[in-house]
Amino acid sequence: MNIYEKEQALLAGLAANETNAIETIYRENFTTIQAFIVKNNGYPEDARDIFQEAMIVLFEKAKLKSFVLSCQLKTYLYSICRRLWLKKLQQESRYYPAFELTNEAVPVDEEIDAHEKLNANFNLMEQALNKIGEPCKSILDAYYIQKKSMPEIAETFGYTNADNAKTQKYKCLVRLKKIFFAQYKNVE
């Protein structure tokens, strides 16, 4: 298996949310990224955050069937981390680092933009879920996030049958949608 095939396999594993694939990528890349961030005014905690963000970018990309790596995985990850870190430094207006701007970096602007939008929506959804209150939050969480079946949910939450639970779930969903879109439109 050559490097290209190996990396494609890793990406496929990532798309399927396989722990093995995640672990392999962590082992092969994290130290480099941490060294880079610590060298550029960051704590190791920052390195962990940035690396997670980059892994999410990679995850979103890997899910797309059309995605093909144009360079080595480590270069790609490095480029993403570098951009994410630069952005964070600017946002927090920390001491501006002397970046070597051309060093082994591939353009990742699109990815970063998409990632920001994704993050924004993720946060909106999280806030909306926190706002709807119980038992709605738990019911929606059980169905849409933990992917439990309706009969199972009916039992857990004490509904007499799955249909009643389903009706409740839809009521909750409508409320969640309302909150989500209210904020979503504000952001837009």
Binding site: T19, R27, V38, R94, N121, V174
Partner: protein, 366 residues
């Protein structure tokens, strides 16, 4: 109810749970009913977002699991590395600032130190004047010589005992112990080759310093002459406690060949530039008053006059008496016993002075 049914339909359509017939029906419905189509599109989008949310949540969960595993393994930095990295971080973050700050601090401290030392050294010399009379004028000397000659003529035998030499400074001292220990200023006897002390009666004795501390400016002399006879009943004591502001004080000293009385008050509990080993007193003094006792109304010697500020009127500094105790401790000489009984208390000033005079000495030397 309708809405719920519709939402359910949208979800089942999305999840591919519909039968082919249902799909056809549902698609027809959307095509012909813009409102339903709009609702379906919106709901679809929302479900997509919700799905992404749950996916990322699950994925983040896995990321954290892996991260925790690697942290436990030690592959990813744990606490110990953290601390080290924190220093690196701080260093990286602030190294330029630190460098600049260090440079500035260095320059500033060097220049301030230079300026301060230059300024204060010169200022101190100019401003603070020790009260030793170095200008024993020639008229006076000649008078002395004449006097001696006169004395010689009348009492030839006696003069042999009195030491004869030309003094080039004059100050004051007072007995601390009847065995011939005299307290004066360190700057008085500094560099002096010969020292003689003279009492009110004009008796002169050779003395040598047994203690001199330039920091406190305190010196103790010992009369070496065998002709000196032990003096008893020193009338004053040396309080260890601090004197109070506004206390009336007086002094006896030798700014002239004759003992001179002066009085004033205690103006500050610290001396020049906050020097806590001395007082500031307001009193009229002249060169020659150095080493004179500062006495309060009870007859306690609270200090020793040492210097005055030249550019201010009546600003005189006196060493606190408790420094005498420190000096005795440093000296490690048990033979010096400070007087313990005060016999001046309650007397009027004239009588106090009469009793005191005998114990205040003129200190001369060259």
């Amino acid at each position: 109810m309708d809405d719920t049914l519709l939402l359910d339909a949208i979800e089942r359509y999305r999840n591919g749970e519909m039968s082919p017939q249902e799909i056809i029906f549902f698609e027809e419905l959307r095509k012909n009913n813009p409102d339903i189509d709009q609702l379906a599109a919106e709901h679809n989008f929302f479900l997509g977002e919700l799905n992404k949310f749950s996916e990322i949540k699950a994925y983040r969960h896995n990321l954290n699991e892996v991260e925790n595993k690697l942290i436990t393994e030690g592959t990813i930095s744990h606490k110990k590395a953290n601390r080290k990295a924190k220093i690196i971080y701080l260093w990286n973050r602030y190294r330029r600032t630190i460098a600049v700050a260090a440079c500035i601090a260095g320059l500033v401290s060097i220049s301030t130190a230079t300026i301060v030392s230059m300024y204060s050294a010169t200022k101190k010399k100019e401003v603070i004047m020790p009260l030793v009379d170095h200008k024993l004028n020639q008229v006076e000397n000649r008078l002395n010589q004449l006097e001696t000659k006169l004395n010689d003529a009348s009492t030839q035998a006696k003069t042999e005992a009195a030491p004869k030499f030309e003094a080039n400074f004059r100050a004051t001292g007072f007995l601390a112990d009847g065995d011939g220990y005299i307290i004066t200023n360190a700057h008085v006897v500094d560099n002096a080759k010969n020292i003689i002390v003279e009492n009110k009666k004009g008796e002169q004795f050779y003395a040598r310093p047994v203690y001199a501390d330039k920091t406190t400016d305190l010196a103790i002399l010992k009369i070496t002459d065998t002709s000196f006879k032990k003096v008893v009943n020193l009338p004053y004591t040396f309080p260890k406690t601090s004197a109070e502001l506004g206390e009336h004080i007086f002094t006896l000293g030798y700014p002239r060949e004759e003992v001179v009385y002066g009085e004033g008050y205690l103006s500050a509990k610290s001396g020049y530039y906050g020097d806590t080993t001395s007082y500031q007193i307001s009193i009229s003094v002249n060169p020659g008053n150095s080493g004179a006792p500062v006495i309060n109304k009870n007859g306690d010697i609270i200090g020793i006059i040492s210097s005055k500020e030249t550019n201010a009127d009546g600003v005189v500094f006196a060493i606190k008496s408790k420094n005498i105790y420190t000096a005795l401790k440093d000296l490690k000489d048990d033979s010096i016993r400070l007087p313990l009984v005060n016999s001046l208390k309650g007397l009027d000033r004239v009588h106090q002075i009469q009793k005191l005079e005998d114990f205040v000495y003129m200190v001369k030397g060259n």
